[in-house]
């Protein structure tokens, strides 16, 4: 496996040293994987970073946008509560200040005052005057509480100390939740009395209702001990203990996220009242609030996934194209290199052959002349006993010289043809003639040699003897490849502006490895019999004649050599 870190550290390593060492298909697979991983990483990392950043940014923005309205709502409701309580307690204070104790102690007067209060301010339930001993001396309201003594009650103690008191919600004697507001007043003669009004908590419920919360949301009032002051949908009825702990104290509305006792993820907004022992709380489940966020998140994820897929597809395609181009250019380079190498080999072998031929030709010329002289002398001598025998020896030497001459000439022919002579010629005729040279061997081995020459074959400008050598080489190779009774076919036809000659045999065929080397000098499969120069010479000649040579072969099926020759001479020949 490729490690990403390695790729990042050495992104191009695969394109350098490893390449030359590995086998081609493996190397390309490796390279493909590396480039693909590199490209995918280079595009996916920024994409991922952007997506993550976007995700968190969006999430925090959404959270702010959700929390703010909640905070505002709680603040507004809290203000409503405070206004309600302040108004009521101011009214009670005003009455306490405006009227004297005897006036308030007058049942009729108090009744009238109370009825005005009730008319002007909703929520008052009753009104009572309590003397400094805690005895209710006058009372207007639905209950008969006149004469009741409150001296032992906590609120009485508190109002004596603070002068003003707003109670929690409590049941008291009335058996329904209520709040009392008590104001102490001091007369000029130093006597104190207390005016006490009871408020109906229905008004609390109405303020909460005016918050118009969604059905799954909840808002309620609790006191400093966590006792519910209004009923909640989910966290307890009025005067029950709230089902979770109070949040830390703050007078400014705050928002917390928490898991409520029902197990829901909720936003809780709350604020403590500065002048009363109340905490207003509003709870909203996050699920419903974040619905729009979840939609956005889904979209975001979808786009990200789409991006990832697009990156992979693009990386794959680009890698494909890149590798294709690389392969192509490397193949071209390899071919060019091979050609250069080949021509270098040919030229150095050519020089070697020319040198050898020259070195041999000189002593050969001496032998030739010496033997020739011997023959000349013998021809001029009268008969003597050994004359016939000596004549035969000399003839034999001259024949051997002729053979050597043939060999050196062929060697030279490999490097450079002695006489390049371009003429207008009929390729078909040359093929027929050359095939004729081999007819004896073909007949002997029962090889079926067939020629299919297009009668309309155009004449071409080329070199007769060189073409003869080419066809001789090809036929020789074909004969060597086929078994006795095999088949060799030569075809010649016009293709565009060229003449194409195919020499096909049904012989043993060649492996891919052999195919790679067949045009190289000294490469032979004939084990000791061949020089390895035949196809190399053929290649050189065809190239010099401006043509092309290709080979197709399948092991066990046969081989086809395809030669293309231009009709006209294309380039000046060396």
């Amino acid at each position: 496996m490729i490690r990403l870190a390695d790729i990042i550290k050495h992104p191009l390593r695969g394109l350098q040293s490893d390449v030359d060492e590995a086998e081609s298909p493996v190397r390309y697979a490796l390279l493909r994987r590396k480039i693909f991983a590199l490209m995918a990483a280079a595009t996916l990392i920024p994409l991922l970073a952007m997506a993550v950043l976007n995700y968190y940014e969006h999430q925090s923005t959404m959270a702010r946008e959700i929390q703010n309205p909640l905070r505002v709502l709680v603040n507004k409701a809290k203000s409503s509560f405070e206004l309600f309580l302040t108004e009521r307690s101011s009214t009670v204070s005003l009455i306490a200040s405006a009227y004297t104790y005897p006036e308030l102690a007058d049942e009729q007067k108090l009744g009238r005052i109370f009825s005005v209060m009730k008319k002007e301010f909703k929520g008052f339930v009753d009104l009572g005057l309590i003397d400094e001993n805690g005895t209710q001396v006058n009372y207007v309201g639905p209950y008969s509480l006149k004469g009741k003594n409150y001296a032992e009650q906590r609120w009485f103690q508190e109002v004596r100390i603070k002068g003003k008191y707003v109670s929690d919600v409590f049941m008291g004697f009335r058996k329904f939740p209520h709040v009392i507001i008590a104001v102490q007043h001091m007369t000029e003669d130093g006597r104190t009395w207390i005016l006490r009004a009871t408020l109906d908590t229905h008004q609390f419920e109405r303020i909460i209702a005016s918050m118009s919360l969604e059905p799954d949301a909840d808002a309620f009032l609790v006191n400093g001990q966590g006792i519910m002051q209004t009923s909640s949908n989910n966290y307890g009825k009025v005067l029950e203990k709230m089902s979770f702990a109070l949040p830390p104290q703050t007078y400014e509305p705050a928002v917390l996220t928490m898991v409520d006792p029902l197990g829901r993820d909720v936003y809780m907004s709350y604020a403590y009242f500065p002048d009363a022992d109340f905490v207003l709380m509003a709870v909203k489940p996050r699920g419903s609030v974040l619905k729009s966020w979840y939609t956005v998140r889904g979209d975001l994820l979808f786009i990200f996934a789409l991006g990832v897929v697009a990156v992979f597809v693009a990386a794959y395609r680009v890698t494909d194209v890149l590798i294709g181009r690389m392969k192509e250019s490397e193949e071209r380079r390899e071919m060019a290199l091979r050609q250069v190498e080949h021509s270098q080999k040919l030229s150095s072998i050519g020089r070697l052959a020319a040198g050898v031929a020259h070195e041999i030709n000189n002593p050969l010329a001496i032998i030739n002349e010496k033997a020739g002289l011997m023959k000349d002398i013998m021809d001029r001598e009268a008969a003597f006993p050994a004359k016939t025998k000596i004549d035969a020896q000399v003839e034999s030497i001259l024949r051997a010289v002729e053979r050597c001459r043939g060999i050196t000439h062929r060697m030279l022919g490999f490097a450079r043809r002695m006489d390049v002579s371009i003429e207008d010629l009929d390729v078909g005729e040359i093929i027929k003639e050359t095939a004729g040279f081999l007819s004896n061997e073909a007949m002997h081995r029962k090889v079926d040699v067939r020629l299919e020459i297009d009668p309309e074959l155009p004449r071409i400008n080329s070199d007769r003897s060189q073409l003869q050598q080419v066809f001789l080489n090809l036929f020789n190779n074909a004969l060597a490849a086929v078994a006795d009774g095999g088949r060799i076919m030569a075809m010649a036809r016009a293709v565009d502006d060229n003449v194409e000659i195919l020499v096909r045999d049904n012989g043993c065929g060649m492996s891919d490895e052999t195919l790679k080397h067949i045009f190289e000098p000294f490469f032979t499969t004939k084990k000791g019999k061949g020089t390895g120069l035949g196809l190399s010479i053929t290649y050189g000649i065809i190239k010099r004649l401006g043509g092309d040579i290709a080979v197709e072969s399948e092991q066990g099926v046969g081989t086809t050599l395809i030669i293309t020759l231009p009709k006209g001479q294309r380039e000046a020949l060396a």
């Binding site: 031929a357 050969l364 030739n368 002349e369 030279l412």
Partner: protein, 137 residues
């Protein structure tokens, strides 16, 4: 012209080869002198003005092609047959360009050589009667 009146000069540093060739030509009634290097060949040509010079291309000292060039400058009617050890087309064509009559490859066929000498002499004779074409082919 009768073959025994031909003046032939054979030039090659391969002494064995060239003397044997001379001997064989003489056996056929063709008088041939030999030179073993470029310098003596040039001296012999200046002194005797042979009809045909058989000249090896590759020699130590003055090379065959240089000898050819000088001969053609000083004695344009002397016909030169070049001998090459390796039948190089390049040397042959260069030689022809410099005014050689023909070129042959070693080892030689003596009958072919004599035929070429004869046609070279014929050619030289014709060239001599056509003024201004003496060094052309």
């Amino acid at each position: 012209m009768n073959a025994k009146d031909w003046k032939i000069l054979l030039v090659d540093d391969e002494r064995e080869f060239i003397t044997t060739l001379a001997e064989r030509l003489e056996l056929r009634g063709i008088p041939a002198r030999v030179a073993f290097d470029g310098e003596s060949a040039l001296e012999a040509i200046a002194a005797e003005e042979p009809h045909v010079v058989v000249l090896d291309v590759l020699m130590p000292g003055i090379k065959g092609l240089e000898v050819l060039e000088r001969v053609k400058r000083t004695n344009p009617l002397v016909q030169v047959l070049l001998l090459t050890g390796h039948g190089s087309t390049r040397d042959g064509i260069e030689g022809m360009r410099l005014g050689a009559y023909d070129y042959m490859m070693k080892p030689l066929n003596i009958d072919t050589l004599i035929e070429k000498m004869e046609s070279a002499i014929d050619y030289a004779k014709k060239a001599a009667t056509l003024p201004g074409k003496s060094d052309g082919q």
